[in-house]
Symmetry: C2
Subunit: 331 residues, 2 copies
């Protein structure tokens, strides 16, 4: 069967609420800079009251990635849960308007659509505080076999380990994908997330559930509990089939059993907001991977998409990535 999608993403469906903040704000509110913290409704209200004027943009890690795949011209779909409230409407509009298939109906009762209060410091770094709300309800029931089997790559976010039953959705999707001879890809999401679920993530990589792993430096160090990057990369090379390690302005590494290839980052004039950098790197790589490009070419698409998204506020591309890639002669 010819794949109907290049990539299907499964993740938390989140609307980002982004505001600028200084370092003192993070310290005062006990936030670990650069990380994602889960918060309850009370804390969500307290943070929102304290934070500055904000903008609302659809987000969610895997959702950002599939939007990026579609922006490159790929066929993409997304599975996640929103409520039929205003932010749910915003999320559904934006992902569909980006050309991504999103079939799920919003829930009518229960918690509100998930949102992440994101503080962007003057250095462009983002610190996320996520109220999962309706996204908590993702379970294996939402995974349709024919949808997942129709995608060349099934892309899953590590954050799915947080909601109670989303892990079941993850594992069901991975099983369907492999049964249909499709690839399964995982992003480690966040160093603290890795810390919460280290053994399970490491198990998924070692036992072959994950065919393609995305991680950044701090996630990788957290996974292998070492402060030394080269040590971590060495273990990764032994345990993973194929991995892409992003290193911010130092570019990225493509790690296979027989070699490690380095790819440069694209120069960026001003880093405005790093939200979505990893998500969009994954988008470029996944698009290339699904279209059978060489890994280094795929990684360059990833670097291009990451550079675009950190040049403006928000975690989704502001320009058509296919156009950008063609201008740079990458497609």
């Amino acid at each position: 069967m010819t794949p109907r999608y290049d990539v299907i993403g499964i993740g938390n469906a989140i609307v980002d609420v982004l505001a600028r903040a200084d370092e003192d704000f993070l310290v005062y509110h006990g936030m670990a800079k650069g990380s994602m913290s889960l918060i309850d409704e009370t804390r969500a209200e307290a943070i929102y009251s304290a934070m500055g004027p904000a903008i609302e943009i659809s987000g969610g890690s895997a959702a950002n990635t599939v939007v990026g795949v579609a922006s490159f011209g790929g066929k993409a779909a997304f599975i996640g849960i929103v409520k039929n409230d205003t932010l749910g409407g915003v999320f559904m509009h934006d992902i569909r308007a980006a050309g991504v298939g999103f079939a799920a109906s919003p829930i009518k009762d229960g918690p509100a659509t998930a949102r992440s209060y994101i503080l962007v410091t003057p250095d462009g770094e983002r610190t996320m505080n996520t109220y999962l709300g309706a996204a908590q309800l993702l379970s294996a029931a939402e995974i349709e076999e024919d949808e997942v089997a129709a995608a060349k790559v099934t892309y899953l976010e590590g954050y799915l380990w947080d909601p109670r039953n989303a892990k079941d959705a993850f594992l069901k999707a991975a099983k369907i994908a492999h049964k249909a001879s499709r690839a399964v890809s995982l992003t480690l999401s966040d160093a603290f997330c890795v810390d919460r679920y280290r053994d399970e993530f490491r198990g998924l990589i070692k036992d072959g559930t994950v065919d393609l792993l995305f991680a950044n430096e701090s996630e990788l160090k957290s996974l292998y509990q070492t402060a030394d990057f080269d040590t971590a990369a060495g273990v990764l090379q032994k345990e993973a089939k194929l991995a892409v390690v992003t290193r911010s302005e130092k570019g990225a590494l493509v790690v296979t059993c027989d070699k490690i290839e380095a790819i440069d980052a694209f120069p960026v004039e001003t880093v405005v907001d790093t939200t979505g950098a990893g998500d969009l790197f994954a988008a470029g790589f996944l698009y290339g991977f699904a279209r059978d490009l060489p890994h280094t070419a795929s990684a360059r698409l990833g670097a291009l998409a990451a550079a675009e998204v950190i040049s403006h506020l928000g975690a989704r591309p502001d320009r058509k990535l296919a156009d950008l890639a063609r201008e740079r002669k990458l497609l």
Copy 2:
């Protein structure tokens, strides 16, 4: 009595829903590029369904202006109506977080918080489609004498002529302001708006209700029904006490009975989105005016604020304007 506020703004409380669109989209949907059209709920839904991925940012012309005044370090307040729905919450959070006084309680019943579907074309120009919703309900009842009398300038948007009873709010506020020996300022808002209420606006200027007028070139030409800018400027000089005419990249003119002074625009590397350019020009000028700066110095603050806001998506400043002005030695 010392003024408690530099500027109090009265206007439609609107959340902007911004998306990129090409020129064909505007033509296909019958939109006049660069203008503001009023739409009903059905058309709002149709436009939203058709438009691309969007971002939500608080807007509203006079609201953007008072946020700009606060960003310069001025004391500002706003009067307008929202509903207690999600977008109403967003509007209230953002204007208060910007340091602007907003005392009104959201309405519990009736139409939803106003939103404007804004299409930004590749040249950075914006075309607005506004569903007024709750903003329709603004009336003289919302105007508190002690609030308006406490502001050095009362700033009113021409758009207030659109909702049924907002004009009464406008006229009541102007009367209070003059009784307290404060200044009244009006922006003509939009050439089509001028076309709808030409005689009334011209009357307000001639009879001295308006002490300080803001207009752009096309609004001015519409006001005096001429295609020749110099002709329009000549009539303006005879009829207005003090006027600021913005001319995009050509800068602005400060028009008084005895002279017309030209102020250059600030250079902008890339015009990303012109939404809010006029609103923020007014913010800079009003801040200077309220602080008794010379008109040319006030206009330079206006030009600076306009340049900042057109460099990114959205109609509110992304950087503290007081800092920018100090960097440029304008404050």
